[in-house]
């Protein structure tokens, strides 16, 4: 149930009188409100600053420290007040949460101090209001990143039990960890530089001999360059193989960009070794040599700045692409115009539209080489328009685009964040709703157990169970129960409903579910429910007396249900709205989730043996005073499904 709405519950219950004349069944008994306390002022003394509020204000959130009996631990008998030795400034926003139902995060507050206060008072940070939630999350993330940075720095200290492989990997990734790593780092850097310079120098024409024209150094000193190249490639190969060996996940390493660059850098050499000096393939071989320039990208391991630039380009790729696209459009337009304008003139260089592209690009970027010049008047007019628009198209938007990049980039991030938060919010609201719905269904089954216990007459057990649900919850459930009685239908959860639909669709024997078939008259239904509770149904094989599960009959282990009734629902139920944990113990019947066409295939929860056949009532059940133990397996199974549910839903 949502927060401040608890104040309207008395109104909703009073308005339920409107259903009474319409109902055909007697209504269930209302829960007793044993605490007939008048509303009183409570004094909360937080490190000397006194706060006062009504008791009912604090009672709105029974899951928190102040709303539950946990605050009795802090009660000071002499001064008749509750004393907390905490920060009074932070306590202000906590107390405002009780008053207004909205938790705000004060911006001047340190995030970790605030978190600690929230944890102390038992309030979940997820309920921070929309106005402050983004700020809270941002600060929290910054804090986390800072902590992670600290952790990483600490991690660089050598851990005692790292094997050789891990040491090597760490040496490769963080060169400053050991001297060997540093040496290796500089050596590879040196050889990358050598390799790049070699590639450059071998094309320079190096002094001519008498009978030959200038030839590039590479052809003159072939052997020397070849040796240099071989040495570099050997170093690179060794480095690559070592990295491959040391990588924790070889497959991931092979897919990474740096390793691809490494491979591309050394492959041409090996291909060149393998290939013969054939005329046909030598052309292709020359092309391959171009790839040797990729060795320069290996420097990015050595330069942080290069990596950041690459990352920035990658992230702004869409904006750059748009810039390119708009430029292309302008180029095509102007090239076409210039071509047709210059078509008339003789000896025009504008032989085709693609040929005009070159003119347009040179003019728009204000280069103006002058190799292509318009000669007609129309051509000159359009040429000048082209160069003016070139200034505008290129020079003006570039700074705008650059600033747009950062703005849009951050905005996108925020939009994604908000989308994810919205999803999480909706999911949380859905869970709270379904939590309250399933809480009602669970408490109904508990109600059955309660009645049976009353029959049995063990007061203790009854107390243990009734005390666990808080008054507001029980009043809300009573209200829903009255609605059920008025309409002579019962609430069920999603899975059971679908199962029921499936059953009624696929099966036709009347003996299947006598209670269903007797639902012709709504009068018979609700009263029939009560009566049939104690008669054994033909398909029921276990001592469950609740009408809903018996409809499923052989499909499920009904013994699971009576165990489930025995486990105290209080913790999961009342914390359902605050804790994001759904009360999935009610889903224990349908742990399998999806309903398949073969009805039989519903998996049943394990490890719960039925207590014999027939209806024997409570004595056959495991005694509720120790509900924790037998219920433990059921809780575990549900929490596993619950936890998977949680992960799916609350993943931001």
């Amino acid at each position: 149930m949502a927060t401040g709405v608890a104040a309207w519950l008395p109104f909703a219950r009073a308005a339920a009188i409107g259903w009474m004349p319409v109902a055909n069944c007697p209504m269930p008994v209302a829960p007793r409100d044993n605490s007939k306390r008048q509303d009183e002022l409570i004094i909360l003394n937080v490190s000397g600053r006194r706060f006062q509020t009504w008791r009912t204000t604090l009672d709105r959130y029974p899951d928190t420290l102040l709303g539950s009996s946990e605050k009795d631990f802090f009660y000071n008998e002499e001064t008749k007040e509750y004393f907390f030795d905490r920060d009074p400034d932070a306590f202000r926003s906590i107390l405002n949460f009780y008053r207004t139902g909205k938790l705000h995060y004060p911006r001047h507050e340190c995030i970790s101090a605030y978190d600690e206060e929230l944890t102390f008072f038992g309030i979940i940070p997820e309920i921070i209001g929309d106005c402050c939630y983004e700020e809270y999350k941002d600060r929290k993330r910054e804090n986390l990143e800072r902590l992670q940075d600290d952790q990483e720095e600490n991690k660089d200290m050598k851990l005692p039990n790292m094997n050789f492989r891990e040491t090597m990997w760490r040496a490769f990734e963080n060169p400053h960890t050991s001297t060997m790593a540093l040496v290796f780092y500089y050596v590879t850097g040196f050889f990358i530089a050598i390799s790049v310079i070699t590639n450059v120098v071998e094309t320079v024409p190096c002094g001519s001999t008498a009978n030959q024209k200038d030839m590039p150094c590479g052809e003159r000193y072939t052997v020397a360059f070849f040796c240099m190249d071989t040495a570099c490639v050997m170093i690179f190969t060794v480095e690559y193989l070592l990295r491959l060996f040391a990588a924790p996940s070889r497959y991931r390493f092979m897919r990474s960009v740096m390793s691809i660059i490494d491979v591309v850098a050394i492959l041409p050499y090996y291909i060149g070794l393998v290939m013969t000096n054939n005329e046909d393939v030598s052309g292709a071989f020359v092309t391959l040599r171009v790839f040797r320039v990729f060795r320069i990208f290996k420097f990015s391991r050595h330069s942080q700045g290069l990596r950041i630039l690459g990352y920035t380009l990658k992230s702004c790729a869409s904006e750059l692409g748009f810039l390119l696209f708009s430029l292309t459009m302008a180029i095509i337009i102007f090239a076409t115009v210039m071509f047709y304008a210059e078509k008339g003139s003789s000896s025009s260089k504008f032989t085709s539209i693609p040929a005009s592209f070159w003119y347009t690009i040179v003019t728009m970027t204000t280069l103006g080489y002058g190799d292509m010049v318009p000669k007609t008047i129309a051509g000159k007019i359009f040429g000048s328009i082209c160069s003016l628009s070139g200034v505008l198209v290129i020079a003006l938007p570039v700074p705008v685009i650059v600033s747009n990049f950062s703005r849009i980039y951050h905005q996108n991030q925020r939009a994604d964040k908000r989308r994810a938060q919205k999803k999480a919010r909706l999911a949380r609201i859905r869970i709270a709703k379904s939590g309250s719905a399933s809480a009602f269904l669970l408490s109904k089954r508990n109600g059955v157990l309660n009645e049976l216990l009353e029959l049995k007459g063990t007061d203790e057990d009854e107390q243990k169970l009734t005390r666990s649900t808080c008054l507001i919850e029980s009043q809300h459930h009573h209200l829903l129960h009255c609605l059920e009685k008025t309409t002579a239908h019962e609430f069920v959860d999603e899975q059971m409903y679908e199962q029921n639909c499936l059953e009624t669709a696929l099966q036709t024997f009347p003996s299947r579910s006598p209670t269903i078939s007797s639902h012709d008259s709504s009068v018979g239904t609700c009263c029939g429910c009560r009566i049939k509770r104690n008669t054994p149904l033909p398909n029921a094989s276990t001592p469950s007396t609740h009408p809903i599960p018996t409809h499923q009959g052989p499909l499920q282990e009904l013994s699971a249900i009576h165990i489930q009734c025995a486990d105290p629902p209080s913790q999961t139920t009342t914390r359902s709205n605050l804790n994001l944990k759904t009360d999935d113990s009610s889903r224990i019947n349908c742990k399998g989730g999806r309903i398949t066409t073969a009805i039989i295939s519903l998996p049943t929860p394990p490890a719960l043996t039925p207590d014999g056949d027939g209806l024997h009532g409570p004595p056959q059940r495991r005694p509720p005073p120790a509900p924790g133990l037998p219920a433990a397996p059921s809780i575990q199974t549900t929490t596993s499904s619950a936890s998977t549910n949680i992960v799916k839903v609350s993943a931001l």
């Binding site: 219950r13 009188i17 009474m20 009504w54």
Partner: protein
Amino acid sequence: GKDPNPIGQTEGSKWQKPRLSRKSLMKCCLVKWIIASTTQQGPGKDSSDSDLELSMVRHQPEGLEQLQAQTQFTRKELQSLYRGFKNECPSGLVDEETFKTIYSQFFPQGDATTYAHFLFNAFDMDRNGSIRFEDFVLGLSVLLRGSVTEKLRWAFNLYDINKDGYITKEEMLAIMTSIYDMMGRCTLPSVRDDSPFEHVEKFFQKMDRNRDGVVTIDEFIETCQKDESIMASMQLFENVI
């Protein structure tokens, strides 16, 4: 000689040559659009003024003594009721949308908005579109501290949507459908399309003594007083506050 408008007489209305008058100009959509876009400031200003007005509307309830006289609550109960009310609605008024939202939160599985609408009309006795604290507390006084007859009268008022003193089958069907809507989809047994209708039929069978198709207040009260389970359930919420 010739008849000037031989066709006109048969048609009945003469075609007039269009004149460029202001009236005809205003009919041109382009002109209208131009005028609208240039005078956009005007309506904007008005709406912001009206926004300013609305936000300052608040309602102050009558004094505590008067309310004590009108209702059956004690002073302390009125105080605590008002505190809760004012906390939820700081302006002192509940409008229909807020009311629907609040009421829907109690029934997460179904759709409570239609029934909330009927309930709103039952509480908003002066039909001004919002529930003030007096309406709220007067209604609660009847429901929680009133005699059984008063409660039955209140229920009759709820069912009688147009407040004409008669409950027709259509009104009852609307109410019943809204109640069944609150159950939602996942019920056992499933709510069939004619479930509300059947329920209404049963209701009329019980209540409509003279079989005239409507239920009057006297028939209603008389029948309810004879039904024990209804009388018992009327006492159910005595101790809510």
